[in-house]
Subunit: 287 residues, 4 copies
């Protein structure tokens, strides 16, 4: 909403008294006008979480010195884990896709409409089907013949391609292959997947079939960061839709698509806004 350059800190550290006072003191005393501040204390884990965003207009510390100065003032003192972001950096996002287009269109429509501050240098797929869509939007499309036999062997090539393109994070837009550990390790908490169930119900393949069999009255979709345990990573967002006995598996698949694309895009939006902190396989989502 603000047009000038801002900086964002996402912090977590052991809970102690005085943290907010120290951080706001660091900003105020250096001319930083705070635009956003939210904090959360997990009283069970005794951990403190904070997101603060301030204007760099009038802030007297040069951008490349902020980290060092913040470390001195607060970071070391409170044993903080933190990340510093600048609003004028435009992150690079790679999309992984298989045969279905609904999530892909939703991502690309927002991208093309300028809703998000992001670049999409490439789309990767294990099938040729979505090349047509990539071409429509003018985005390079790379096909890898991934299956369970070739997965590990192709991983280094994929990683090279991602690195050459300076990719910051991956979005799996109904990509129907397991992600190799090599990629997961290279992008920790930076691979966003959409799973077509309200996790932890219906982990794994064919969740709509399983939902139909069980006779549930709600279906769901879950966006989460990918970890090495299938469908078990930190949950970013979930939503549901009502179904009835009249709905076939095909109806569930069709209704589910609308859930999937919206839940995935909202997760990407939160990620881009630097509003997600991951701690011990859970997310803190700042509002």
């Amino acid at each position: 909403m603000t047009d000038h350059r801002t900086a964002i800190l996402l912090i977590h550290c052991p809970d102690r008294e005085g943290i907010v006072h120290s951080v706001t003191g660091f900003l105020s005393s250096n001319g930083g006008n705070i635009l956003y501040l939210d904090q959360h204390t997990d009283s069970t884990e005794k951990v403190f979480f904070m997101r603060v965003e301030w204007s760099l207009e009038g802030f007297i510390i040069p951008s490349d010195e902020i980290q060092g100065r913040f470390d001195e003032c607060c970071g070391e003192r409170y044993e903080m884990s933190y990340r510093l972001y600048f609003s004028d950096y435009v992150p690079k996002m790679a999309i992984f896709v298989s045969k279905m287009s609904h999530c892909l269109y939703d991502l690309l429509a927002r991208y093309t409409a300028g809703e998000w501050k992001v670049n999409i240098p490439l789309i990767i797929s294990n099938h040729p089907d979505m090349r047509r869509v990539a071409d429509m939007f003018g985005i390079p499309y790379y096909e890898f013949s991934v299956n369970k036999d070739t997965r590990e062997e192709l991983a280094p090539k994929m990683l090279d391609l991602l690195r050459e393109n300076g990719v910051d994070f991956l979005v799996l837009a109904r990509y129907m292959q397991i992600v190799p550990d090599l990629l997961i390790d290279a992008f920790p908490n930076r691979i966003i997947n959409i799973h077509h169930s309200f996790l932890p119900a219906f982990v794994g393949a064919k969740p709509y079939h399983a939902a139909y069999e069980r006779g549930v009255k709600l279906i769901g979709a879950t966006a989460h960061y990918v970890t090495s345990v299938l469908d078990a990573g930190p949950i970013i967002g979930q939503d549901i839709a009502r179904i009835s006995h009249k709905n076939t598996v095909d109806d569930l698949v069709r209704k589910g698509k609308d859930l999937e694309k919206i839940v995935l895009s909202h997760a990407v939006e939160k990620h881009l806004a630097r509003k997600i902190l991951v701690y011990k396989n859970k997310t803190i989502i700042f509002s």
Copy 2:
């Protein structure tokens, strides 16, 4: 909505042509004015389901002969499983409760306000705590010292008590004990339970703790008929509420209570309205 006496048929049978025509012919030709008709065909299972309600005012078949005459006309011909209900029969419902009052109050408030056409001859509990609430509403309260050792031994006594009171169906209003098979067999698809998760996620004990641990962004509640497999019976209704990282387990418990009581009461409402058909561990819920 109608004040005069009506009859309701809940039917399922193998799908064949002409069923609706035959049933409506039976009613029309005997002076039955149809007030409600809904049908569903499960095209996978090739099974036909129907609910029809008609006014008995002007219907020329005496009530005690309807079943015989319907058998001749339709029941045998189409190999129907069906049940016939009359709107002036007031069913008797037993409530089972443990220590929590929220579902109990919700059921009794609707009962006392005359929202439902039902009688509640008794409340059964494994704890003394809710006697106070039963007394406020003037309903007999029976305490059984149920635990995993005494469960089977006490089951026949419970069943006797239910039978003496002419109970038609049971509602488990956060009753925290496993129901013995003796009762399940005596009340097939007539024991309604509320489980405090969106099944099939978080089966069993302490679902809110499990939900908290997993870091879900939605919690749920599920009303279902009790079968001999724990939390695996036919689902009647489900609903969810949004939660965030700010919510403790206590918050989940508190938010969940509102879900539980509404989902349970809605299930009871559907049951009383004869709008639920069970087939192969799933429900058809007529609207």
Copy 3:
């Protein structure tokens, strides 16, 4: 779900006994296997509504004689208003758009993915902005310089264009001009609009600003058929999203887009499935 040809009847008439029996008799006696039957009686208005779909495989009446034969059997007898549809007819839909792309992309993505049995022969706009999107999807784009002075004058030209293209119904995908009566009269209950509020709240321009001013905690979107009274036509579908004091008008606009596109596309889906009956400015939506 069925691949062979089907026929659909959407019927309303004064409520009388025996209608379902007569209609099902007509179908059964002519070899029509019923795939879907739903009915509704408005007991206040004393009007009967019905949707029935049957397979034409084995149906002994030729398609072009069904209407005549149905009139003889049922239509005249019960004073029915009805429409007969065939599943192999692919309707033609025109999209009207102004400057925003979100609804347009959502419609075209479903269309291109083959989700809907529809043709889109043209897109009409009062601005040049969306030509780019039309071109991506290869759909002819016509720009009319519509404003409140030219609206009436341009209406006949628009109507000619729609007729030349054999258009069956119109979808206003955030088209920000009032539709002239000439078009409304030519397409009665066949112009679907998306309004960016939960009608009847916030009729007219700038509903998100009005919602922000009022301090509501929910925003909504409403799909409805266009009539000559602004934002007052029969409502097809509505949905809402939660907002908070943290949300600016821009946030409301952004969140609203996701509501708008989904609610609009679902309305188009129901329309295409011949599941909507309009009666006295209200809709019956079959499930």
Copy 4:
């Protein structure tokens, strides 16, 4: 969640730099361990809002001196409007009711179960019907023969009664009379009403009838603070339920009751938790 005594500040003031730093400094330097801190800046109005809660265990300023000391440190400097609350004060709530019991039961069930830290010294009604419920829960019931002729005349007597009972805030649990200005002025932003529509749609009497007439697909309920303009006060919370063409006005009334009671009770909960700030006819609801 904490058992020891806490203090809460609800603050708003013109937005300036350094406010968070000053407030947290005041607390830290006096030994106050912050348990909750949330803030919001309305960038349009240039107003800053804050809620902070801290433990009084170890806080070195005596409770009766906190206000003075805070004024010196922060209040005057930043031209703050603020309120100071202590967690051990149990507020007194009066319930106003007419003939319907659903909201009343929901409030009293939570009260009796000890969910809320509140006292309910009396129930006031314009009808005798709910005396029975008041008696069940052992709460004094006062009947005033309020109608539009007697309303103003009875207002001073009501106010006296409320004052004698030390009432802090009022909850209108479907009280069907207009509240006289005398009471509104005596309890500014301390009278919570539940209106049975999603405001601003269907202001005034018989909203369910109006919703039925308009053919909406959603009904709603809105909790708000009462001001002298009917149904136009600051909105606290809203929720909706889906309806269909099958639903009669009676169905809407019945479904609406579940919305009303939950929305009202959640609003009371937020009020009791000191999580609501009112500014210019809107609410800031802290999470």
